[in-house]
């Protein structure tokens, strides 16, 4: 009967994208460390 997919550690009702903090296919914890960010060249 499959599984309760809300128990896999992903906030499926989130208004934010999940991939920014997607830790790994094995963990139900959000990613540690800096999420992906890009600083425009002109900030340097």
């Amino acid at each position: 009967l499959g599984m309760d997919l809300t128990t896999l550690g992903l906030n499926l009702n989130s208004t934010e994208n999940l991939h920014k903090t997607f830790g790994s296919p094995w963990s139900d914890e959000p990613a540690k460390g800096d999420p992906e960010f890009n600083v425009p060249q002109c900030y340097y």
Binding site: L1, G2, M3, D4, L5, L8, G9, L10, L12, S14, N17, L18, H19, K20, T21, F22, S24, P25, W26, A31, P35, E36, N38, P40, Q41
Partner: protein, 524 residues
């Protein structure tokens, strides 16, 4: 022209020198890279291959030698030992520095060098996995790609085109390292493919041009899993990989639903029929700008929904399997002439069967992708005809068209299949139809209509039972449930035309009777 020993000696010395450079001192980098370039090590020729192969070997060996317990002893997942990634990280930094400071003109040469380095890395992993088999350790290579991905995929933050090329180079590398080719790398592979510095980028840069690459990688994974998922019982490693796959599909469902929508046919070809929930995730996807009416809304008029007339976008090649199996011409011929008594219909069942040798490997006697392709292709032709014949009609499937509609060649094909196929074949055919019950579009509407029409017209109870089963087994699994599936089932059990509640099979066993009572309650 250096012989192997000298070359190894020289490469090791150069790597040691790189290791001694203070990691913060960015000033020394360009000089060091220039020296490599002047030594002729960065031309992208055979010497370059040997150089990077050696550095890979040295850094991986250092990493493995640092591991606590001997990696050949079978360990439990919890027992995985720590290992030092120092050499791997330093080698990763060398590669990103080379690509950053290498004195070549921008664009192609840098990208050419990256492709060479990735090719060397892929071949090295494939060879190591072949030689070590069960004692192959994927973690050093995982770490190496974790170094490469963020550094190299943002090499030229300004030049988006270069970025896209680099992401494609990684996609090709991962395709070459797919689980069917390097099964011992499967877990690391899925984590890299779904990594937040790779998959989302390739799905967003360059206006969806990266989609085919991610689709191909997902198919690589599902093809590997398919034989192990046919049986409901899975061992722990397969279950773990399956669960990881479901997580990745949920991220795609949430963030990139259009991607799952547009390739649903391809994914249904490689997901075994027993993976009902996994397939439901794909089929439940709908465009983010669409609002789905609640299927249990009383007197919901599907025909009047604006989206119901629109065709869904399909990026899979619908008639590919028909062409491969030399069926497309005959199908088109029949749809056009509808020649009575033609051999096409009588031979149809036979042509959907696999050769016995293929059947054994495929775990079924039928060519599932061919059935999927035939059902969808034939339906699309019918929809086109219906809309051409009555351009202003509100929808493709309202019952007013039943008499005229029932003359359609497409329906001949469906009726032939539902009556000629054996139980297994009919199940796969009904699955192919049910796979089109998705979000509001004219395919969902047409195929919902087909399923209900077959229920009403085929006067064999076993067929009605099987149609019910195909719908029910998709509804009793945990969520998500595709919108089109729900509205079809509700129509079946509510519309007196189908006389559903008088069918004997809903009382074929006490638990089935209870199941339908609960269904009746939940559907009001």
């Amino acid at each position: 022209d250096l012989d192997a020993a000298d070359f190894r000696e020289q490469a090791s010395k150069l790597f040691e020198k790189w290791c001694e450079l203070p990691s913060t001192d960015d000033a020394a980098c360009p000089d060091y890279i220039l020296q490599l370039h002047q030594n002729g090590l960065l031309k992208g020729d055979e010497i370059t291959d040997r150089f990077f192969r050696l550095l890979t070997e040295i850094s991986v060996a250092h990493c493995l030698s640092s591991e606590g317990i001997n990696s050949s002893a079978m360990q439990s997942p919890q027992q995985v030992q720590s290992m030092s990634f120092l050499a791997i990280d330093i080698y990763g930094k060398l590669v990103s520095s080379i690509l950053k400071y290498c004195p070549v003109e921008l664009g192609s040469s840098k990208f050419f060098l990256l492709s060479k380095i990735l090719a060397v890395t892929v071949r090295f992993i494939q060879k190591d996995a072949e030689e070590r088999k069960g004692s192959f350790n994927p973690r050093p290579y995982f770490r190496l790609f974790i170094n490469f991905l963020p550094d190299l995929s943002s090499l030229e933050p300004v030049v988006d085109g270069a970025n896209f090329q680099i992401l494609i180079a990684f996609a090709n590398a991962f395709h070459a390292l797919q689980p069917l080719k390097v099964p011992a790398f499967s877990f690391a592979w899925l984590e890299l493919v779904s990594h937040r510095t790779f998959m989302p980028k390739l799905l967003t840069v360059n206006a969806q041009k990266g989609w085919p690459y991610i689709q191909r990688l997902l198919v690589d994974l599902l093809q590997f899993l398919e034989p192990f998922l046919r049986n409901a019982e899975m061992g722990q490693p397969v279950n773990f990989l399956y669960k990881g796959t479901v997580r990745v599909l949920l991220v795609l469902l949430h963030d990139f639903p259009e991607f799952l929508c547009d390739y649903h046919l391809t994914f249904c070809d490689v997901i075994p029929p027993s993976c009902i929930q996994m397939r439901n995730i794909i089929l439940s996807a709908f465009p983010r700008n669409m609002r789905l009416p609640d299927p249990s809304t009383p007197n919901l008029k599907i025909d009047l929904l604006p989206e119901i007339r629109e065709p869904p976008r399909i990026l899979s090649e619908v008639d590919a399997a028909l062409k491969i199996n030399q069926m497309k011409t005959d199908v088109d011929e029949y749809l056009k002439t509808r020649q009575q008594g033609s051999l096409f219909l009588t031979e149809l069942k036979q042509r959907l069967l696999l050769l016995p040798s293929d059947a054994a490997f495929a775990g079924t006697r039928y060519n599932v992708p061919l059935i999927n392709s035939l059902v969808l292709y034939v339906g699309m032709q019918a929809i086109q005809q219906l809309q051409a014949r009555s351009p202003n009609s509100q929808s493709t499937g309202n019952s007013a068209l039943w008499p005229e509609f029932s003359l359609g060649a497409s329906l001949d094909i469906y009726m032939t299949l539902i009556l000629d196929l054996d139980t297994e074949g009919r199940y796969l055919f009904l699955n192919a139809v049910a796979n089109q019950l998705r979000y509001p579009n004219n395919h969902t509407h047409y195929f919902s209509f087909i399923l209900l029409y077959l229920f009403a017209k085929s006067n064999q109870e076993i067929i009605q039972e099987q149609i019910t089963r195909v719908l029910l087994e998709r509804l009793i699994v945990n969520k998500p449930h595709p919108w089109g599936l729900l509205i079809t089932f509700i129509e079946l059990i509510k519309n007196p035309r189908y006389n559903f509640w008088n069918r004997s099979f809903i009382r074929c066993a006490p638990e089935i009777e209870k199941l339908f009572e609960s269904v009746a309650r939940s559907c009001g």
